[in-house]
């Protein structure tokens, strides 16, 4: 029997020294949905995602993937179920787009015809086919962002995690990324998406978790969040400010 949730996170806690960055966060991502992660600076989004991706060890709590215990920090096989699109442009500028994809494809265990097909599919998804053999250093910021996305999805992971994938891109590239993500959703893929842009979250996400100061302070569809915040019918930005307050979080 298929599990109800792709990823289940229960009472996740992580400390940087004496500072508790994630303080008992629980959420579950359903198969085929785009799950949004929202929160002001220092809310604990990146830390929580780093735990889910296996970048951080030493966390407390429990994670399950497809109903099974999930320890991506300890088991490479668990990390293979995840695809990460980091906030940084995590591609090699000295290599061409195709060389980058071939490298990352091999890194996740693809080879031969499967690898070639995956690279071509990723190039087509992100519209980089014509410039695939050019050095990434000659790409525009938007093209690099799209390549960054393509590299994370090469092996069609069970859960694709995108950490602010549209930061600093022009409207054309942003729309292209949105279209690519919507195509992935249409294919039944599961995505975990963090962003600062409320309109992105409203447009793309089926459900949204709002984090602040390491705690989960809201979870549901945009309309449900508005209800939870006591501002029914309000847009997501108003809901967000209502839940998290107006105080600056620069020092968080």
């Amino acid at each position: 029997m298929a599990a109800d949730f792709q990823l289940e996170v229960e009472d996740l806690r992580f400390r940087y020294g004496s500072r508790e960055a994630v303080a008992g966060v629980s959420f579950a991502v359903r198969p085929g949905e785009i799950f949004g992660f929202l929160g002001p600076n220092g809310a604990g989004k990146t830390t929580a995602i780093s735990c889910v991706c296996g970048l951080l060890g030493g966390w407390q709590g429990a994670m399950r993937f497809g109903g099974e215990t999930f320890r991506p920090d300890l088991r490479a096989a668990d990390r293979r179920r995840i695809g990460l699109v980091p906030q940084d442009l995590a591609v090699y500028e000295e290599l061409s787009g195709r060389e980058n994809l071939l490298f990352f494809g091999r890194l996740v265990g693809l080879a031969g015809a499967e690898l070639t097909a995956a690279v071509e599919r990723a190039l087509e998804l992100t519209g980089l086919g014509e410039r695939a053999d050019d050095r990434v250093g000659s790409y525009s910021g938007g093209m690099k962002r799209r390549l960054n996305l393509a590299a994370g999805d090469l092996h069609r992971p069970s859960l694709l995690i995108l950490d602010e994938p549209t930061v600093g891109v022009d409207p054309q590239s942003r729309n292209h990324i949105f279209a690519a993500l919507e195509r992935l959703r249409d294919q039944g893929r599961t995505l975990l998406y963090t962003t600062h842009y409320m309109e992105e979250a409203e447009r793309l996400c089926d459900r949204i978790a709002v984090l602040d100061r390491g705690r989960l302070i809201g979870l549901g569809a945009a309309a449900e969040l508005a209800e939870q915040a006591g501002v029914p019918g309000a847009d997501l930005e108003q809901v967000f400010l209502r839940l998290t307050g107006h105080r600056l979080r620069d020092s968080a």
Binding site: G58, A77, D88, L89, A90
Partner: protein, 451 residues
């Protein structure tokens, strides 16, 4: 006035930024301080804080065992340019024992005082000494010759002087055009003797024996001095070594290769920091690969670059200087692998310790330059009789062991498993293992604590 005020405003801003730029401070202040300390410390140790030269080892076998030969050895011990071995309290060595030392390259000059030396000297003659030497050690040869002239003069209390001069005049043929040269040489020698003999601290006269040629005569003082004391020299050098290859030349090539390799491979190791700064390390860490494979990948990359770099540099050195680099390819390969492993480990350690690439560059530059200086990559510090504490510091540097290995291969023509070379190979691999294990431990600790 406004011009100056605005200029000061900009200068003050730059000073504030400079003060906060740790790398700039590192390069601008700490690097010169570290180098001045290392060089000043070495110069003081090597040159005795004002003496003209460092001392070089001269092994001695006394077959005469006379009062005169004892006086000769005592005068040599008092000379400023050599350190007589074995020491006065140690067991004397036989001719065969000192010969073996030169043969196995643990000594470069061995003086033999033959039987009958004292008797002949007492008779006003010029008894011949024997010298077993490595002909590639030209600098040391000059130092030993100077010490011998001084010692010979001292023990004969000047009695040998006419005989010594006669020997040289005979050699010169006493032709009229050479008479002036002989006179100039005599003056130079006198000045030199006065300087070396006890109480002879006065500055040499102008045009004296400081240079290789007496002023205005074109006279070669070094050659003249070398010929004054009758010495039968027996040259011993490994059969494979090119005749023209001097110790200093082999030292220079090896030293520059070792130092440049360190710079190159630290840059390779710091690609780990570049990956961290650019964010690609995040993607590597999230991939289904072992954490160790990432570190090992950097190790393999550095090692490959190191081997390519070393091969090219040595091939170039072979073309240019005829070092007989590929005479023993197995030893060359073993030494290249050992050095590459040690330097790669060092580079990885710097890469995991440093927070930024700038920091890695700053710290590694200081460490490499100081290690190169202390380890003999700049000049042959190992030739000098340094105090134990300095020797310990030298041996703590991987450059020292790298230089030992390469000098043994290039100059002494020893194989990698020779007792003189094997310790260098073992220590370099020890460096490599220790540095890699430390780098791995720090790398895992850092990964566990931060994304």
């Amino acid at each position: 006035m406004k011009l100056l005020r605005d200029a000061w405003l900009i200068a003050a801003k730059d000073l504030r930024a400079w003060r906060r730029d740790r790398t700039g401070l590192l390069f601008g202040l700490l690097l010169p301080i570290a180098l001045v300390t290392a060089m000043g410390f070495l110069a003081k140790v090597l040159y005795g804080g004002g003496g003209p030269m460092g001392r070089t080892d001269l092994w001695v076998a006394d077959e005469d065992r006379s009062e005169a030969s004892a006086d000769l050895l005592a005068a040599l011990r008092a000379a400023a340019t050599v350190r007589v071995r074995p020491g006065p309290e140690a067991e004397p060595l036989s001719v065969e024992e000192v010969r073996r030392k030169v043969e196995d390259a643990s000594a470069h000059h061995a003086l033999i005082v033959p039987a009958g030396f004292g008797e002949e000297l007492a008779a006003g003659g010029l008894p011949e000494l024997r010298m077993i030497r490595d002909p590639g050690r030209r600098l040391e040869d000059t130092l030993v010759s100077l010490a011998l002239v001084q010692a010979y003069m001292a023990i004969s209390e000047g009695r040998s002087w006419p005989a010594m001069m006669g020997r040289q005049m005979e050699a010169l043929g006493l032709e009229p055009e050479q008479a002036q040269a002989v006179v100039a040489a005599s003056e130079s020698v006198r000045a030199l003797i006065e300087r070396f003999l006890p109480g002879g601290d006065e500055e040499p006269e102008a045009g004296g024996a400081e240079g290789g040629a007496a002023a205005g005569t074109g006279f070669d003082m070094s050659a003249f001095l070398t010929g004054m004391v009758p010495v039968a020299a027996e040259d011993i050098q490994p059969p494979g070594r090119p005749k023209e290859l001097g110790y200093m030349q082999a030292q220079s090539v090896s030293g520059m290769v070792v130092m440049m390799l360190m710079f190159g491979l630290v840059a390779c190791g710091s690609t780990l920091i570049v990956e961290r700064e650019k964010g690609t390390l995040t993607r590597l860490l999230a991939a289904p690969v072992s954490r160790d494979s990432i570190l090992l990948g950097k190790l393999f990359f550095s090692a490959a670059v190191g081997l390519i770099q070393l091969s090219l540099l040595f091939a170039y050195g072979e073309l240019l200087f005829d070092l007989a680099t590929f005479r023993d390819p197995v030893t060359l390969l073993v030494l290249m692998l050992s050095l590459t492993a040690a330097v790669t480990g060092f580079g990885l350690l710097v890469a995991v310790l440093a927070r930024t690439q700038k920091q890695a560059e700053g710290v590694s530059t200081i460490l490499i330059l100081v290690m190169s200086c202390l380890g003999g990559a700049w000049f042959p510090i190992q030739l000098f009789a340094v105090p134990t504490a300095v020797e310990v510091i030298m041996r703590l540097t991987l450059t020292h062991w790298a230089m030992t290995g390469f000098q043994n291969m290039f100059f002494h023509q020893k194989s990698w498993h020779d007792p003189a070379t094997l310790p260098a190979v073992v220590v370099l691999w020890g460096f490599a293992l220790a540095a890699f294990l430390a780098a791995r431990a720090i790398y895992h600790r850092r990964l566990a604590s931060a994304s």
